[in-house]
Symmetry: C2
Subunit: 195 residues, 2 copies
């Protein structure tokens, strides 16, 4: 689903690795992740999903990033640094995406009178809390993956870059703004499609 | 925090690895993860947190499991199997813990008249959806980590074993019940403290 940050993560790394792939558009907002065919591939009914040429599948955006990046400069070889990158990727899925991505989803894809809009103030407050944690890290480190750009930066970039879609402004976070620009300046960078 | 499933994961693996460690009790329900001293160690204000003897810290339970297990039988050496284990660990933090652990938290630690109890029906519904995904996997595979017991089993065991604390019964899931017993039969197994 091209407008999904979780899916965009995978596309961005594939492009930066120069890997050949076919992109199959699956729109969760139109129920395409709940068909019997899709649930046979991923019983959890979520995109992105990678399917290898032999049919084997791998779900969960950040697990896909980790698998694709093994042995490449996008994942540190050092065990402690890998663990720190994973720590940021779990932070992204637990403390960041459920607020920043969900605020964006509700803002863009629900009707103006949706009851779900009642959730927005709380989501924005917790989204800002996540951004404050990122800002603090970036005040003393250039990247989230280790000494260089890599998978944790890709994971956190996805929804941070479009946080304003959900009414979460980035003006209070100068270090995040610098980091977003540094990610965008990486070779092979590809922006997410406008929603 | 001994009653936290996320913390118990780390203790269980440390015990099974035979690693020496000191356990420092930090009770988030009493605000101990929000003190200036704790926030200096983990700006995200969450337990568990590992601090090495040289002072370096690592946050996020599943990143800690991955780091501790590298090079041991608790994490597969094969890249694809590692990615599948990670996929289950991200599933745990995104699709399982936010419902099953939060239903338990509200049921045990909030007053009987708490407004948060309004969340319980929705949390239980999504908790059952996660358990159904696990049940389906366990109908054709003995473990979540790969061919053997390991980190993804530890991650998923933590809150599945105490799901009934949050009113999420395990009777509909015979394969999960068998798997829970198989985890409990592992050498060095240690149950979570009663809340």
């Amino acid at each position: 689903m091209s407008t999904s940050g979780n899916c965009h993560k995978v596309r961005l790394l594939l492009e930066q690795l120069g890997t050949r792939y076919d992109w199959v558009e699956v729109n969760s907002a139109q129920g395409q992740t709940r068909t019997p065919e899709f649930l046979a591939l991923n019983p959890n009914g979520k995109v992105p999903l990678v399917q290898r040429s032999d049919g084997r599948v791998l779900a969960e955006s950040n697990a896909i990033l980790f698998w694709l990046a093994e042995g490449t400069p996008f994942l540190p070889a050092d065990g402690w640094q890998r663990a720190q990158a994973l720590s940021w990727m779990f932070f992204e899925q637990y403390s960041h995406e459920p607020y920043i991505a969900v605020a964006r989803f509700i803002s863009i894809w629900t009707p103006a009178d949706s009851r779900r809009r009642d959730e927005l103030p709380g989501l924005r407050e917790r989204g800002h809390a996540a951004l404050a944690v990122m800002e603090r890290h970036l005040q003393s480190a250039p990247w989230f993956t280790g000494p260089d750009y890599g998978v944790a930066d890709i994971a956190l970039f996805a929804y941070t870059a479009v946080a304003e879609d959900g009414g979460i402004g980035l003006a209070p976070y100068p270090a995040i703004q610098r980091w977003l620009q540094a990610v965008q300046a990486q070779p092979g960078f590809l922006p997410i499609l406008a929603a």
